[in-house]
């Protein structure tokens, strides 16, 4: 795979002095789904806005398909579709006119057959003659996606695409994103819903206080930074941890009824067989046992809180 977007040393300081991005470098691979995670105000939207040409960078360069976003802005922008976070539409236009406008704006000749396919894909075809201001929030969100897809972009930015949409639309959108990826479109999405990233993304970047703190393949990230836990439900409660179990990182939970072992998901040797043998030797019996892995959400929360603000 080759980088379709190459960001290096990207810095943005707003007029008011707010440092939104600090020296961000990132390569987005062609054809991947990349999820950008970060708390509110972390710099996700600023990063996207710079790549799309809405915000000017203070320093650094961005290449889109080899084209500099400032010098060769036409070529760079022609390949990008953007669905911004805010729900904004041309209030008095019809759905179809809005999609047609977007296609023209991005320099493509009219192709109503293609637009029909896009609108059908988004269940908007029956509403094509509706005036935008009469649509519900979910429908407007669909129109914004249709507009972003109207010029057949090879790269699609989705800034919080499922914020405030119902479950059905969310599922629809996930399916659409997968179909687009299968057709070779690179997708960069920001989201608050970590499960969305967990479900969709090939790679994950975590941004906080304007700095990119982690970029990793999703599975590797979960393996590397994730924790696993083994919980043993004991037959008889223990008052305290016996000294003989001192070599394992154990914790006594549920008033002595549960024994919990936490270990790195990445470890080859978990020490579980030895622990179970030792318990047998000590005559500590258990009724049940289960293991669980930490979710991406837990990893995200620990990453963001661990690294805290870069600077005070």
């Amino acid at each position: 795979m080759s980088a379709v977007i190459s960001i290096s040393g990207l810095t943005k300081t707003y007029a008011g002095g707010h440092h939104a991005l600090e020296d961000v470098s990132l390569d987005i691979e062609r054809g991947e789904i990349f999820a950008l995670l970060g708390p509110n105000g972390a710099g996700k939207t600023t990063l996207i806005s710079i790549v799309c040409g809405i915000v000017r960078p203070t320093a650094g360069t961005v290449l889109v398909d080899g084209h500099d976003i400032v010098r060769d802005y036409r070529q760079a922008r022609a390949t990008i579709g953007l669905v911004p976070q805010e729900l904004v539409t041309e209030a008095f236009e019809t759905v179809f006119a809005a999609a047609r406008f977007s296609r023209g704006l991005f320099g493509r000749p009219p192709d109503d057959a293609y637009l029909e396919r896009v609108l059908r894909d988004l269940s908007l075809w029956d509403r094509r003659g509706d005036i935008m201001m009469t649509l519900s929030g979910g429908m407007k969100r669909r129109v914004m996606i249709a507009k972003a897809l109207s010029h057949e972009p090879r790269i699609l930015f989705l800034d919080e695409p499922t914020a405030g949409v119902d479950v059905e639309l969310r599922r629809d959108m996930w399916a659409l994103v997968r179909r687009l990826r299968d057709s070779g479109v690179t997708i960069i999405l920001t989201t608050h819903y970590i499960d969305e990233a967990e479900e969709m993304a090939d790679r994950i970047g975590v941004i906080n206080h304007g700095r990119l703190i982690v970029v990793e393949e999703k599975l590797r990230l979960m393996r590397k930074l994730g924790k696993r836990q083994l919980t043993l439900t004991l037959q008889d409660p223990l008052a305290a941890l016996p000294q003989e179990l001192g070599e394992w990182p154990l914790a006594l939970k549920a008033n002595g009824h549960e024994l919990e072992l936490t270990f790195d998901a990445a470890l080859e040797q978990t020490g579980i067989p030895a622990l179970l043998r030792r318990l047998e030797q000590l005559g500590i019996n258990y009724r049940d046992l289960n293991t669980r892995e930490s979710s991406l959400e837990e990893i995200f929360v620990s990453l963001v809180s661990e690294r805290g603000p870069g600077r005070a």
Partner: protein, 258 residues
């Protein structure tokens, strides 16, 4: 630059979008200025004008027609172009324009082109309306159209700047109300500046609108307050100033991009 040299589809999309807005509101867009003009012509031209002397051999009713058309050109151009660019800024849909592969020239061609088209069309409708009430002659039709187009483009550019500058709808109304209408009324729309006392005549010459109206009126009746060449030159100067301001806005991203 390789690839698209001129994104004609982009400029056309903006132009069509703006014209569609005009057609949607055709009735109020056309009816209001037509009624206003008809009132002006009937009241000033027919009722009061019949008791007034001719101005340079032209009946007063006919004399004020070029000024009335100019007044509409100014206000319509400014309001159309400023609304056109201010509305997407206000609603947030400007993100799409800013992220599209369109150059500043194509954006301006779309918005200003549409605004100028509308005001020229309105100008012609007003001319036809006025000709219905008073005898209007056009000695230099080519120059009449040239002045009309130049003025429409120039004031649409000015309106575009106002639309980007304005932070809210109130500010949008400010420039036409506070500057353009007074300058037009004091710019010889309803009188020849020869009618003014000496000192005021000199003051009036600092009003750029005097040159626009004078040149335009010359294309109708062959008579002008100032030399026609000077009128044309002043119109072009204002056009160049507006172009420079627009170029600066796009170079710096002023009130468009952070």
């Amino acid at each position: 630059m390789s690839g698209m040299a001129f994104n004609r589809h982009g400029a056309w999309a903006i132009y069509r979008f703006e014209m569609a807005r005009f057609l949607r509101t055709l009735l109020q867009s056309v009816l209001t200025p037509v009624i206003t003009t008809a009132l002006f012509v009937v009241v000033f031209g027919a009722a009061i004008g019949s008791r007034m002397a001719e101005v340079g051999g032209v009946s007063y009713g006919a004399f004020i027609v070029p000024g009335l058309i100019m007044l509409s050109l100014f206000t319509e151009s400014i309001s159309n172009a400023s609304f056109g660019i201010h509305f997407p800024k206000f609603t947030g849909t400007i993100y799409e324009i800013l992220s599209a592969p369109v150059s500043p020239f194509e954006i301006v061609a779309g918005y200003v082109g549409a605004a100028a088209t509308k005001s020229v069309l309105l100008g012609l409708v007003i001319l036809a309306t006025a000709a219905f009430f008073v005898p209007v002659t056009i000695l230099h039709p080519f120059w009449m159209m040239a002045f009309m187009l130049l003025t429409a483009v120039t004031f649409s550019l000015f309106g575009f700047i106002v639309g980007i500058w304005a932070k809210n709808w109130e500010q949008m109304q400010l420039i036409p109300m506070l500057i353009v209408t007074p300058l037009t009324f004091l710019g010889g729309a309803f009188y020849s500046i020869d009618m003014l006392p000496g000192a005021w005549r000199t003051v009036t010459l600092f009003n750029p609108v005097v040159y626009l109206i004078s040149g335009f009126r010359w294309s109708f009746y062959g008579k002008s307050d100032v030399a026609v060449g000077l009128s044309l030159a002043m119109t072009l100067v204002f056009l160049v100033l507006c172009l420079a301001a627009v170029a600066w806005i796009f170079r710096t991203g002023w009130r468009l991009k952070h």
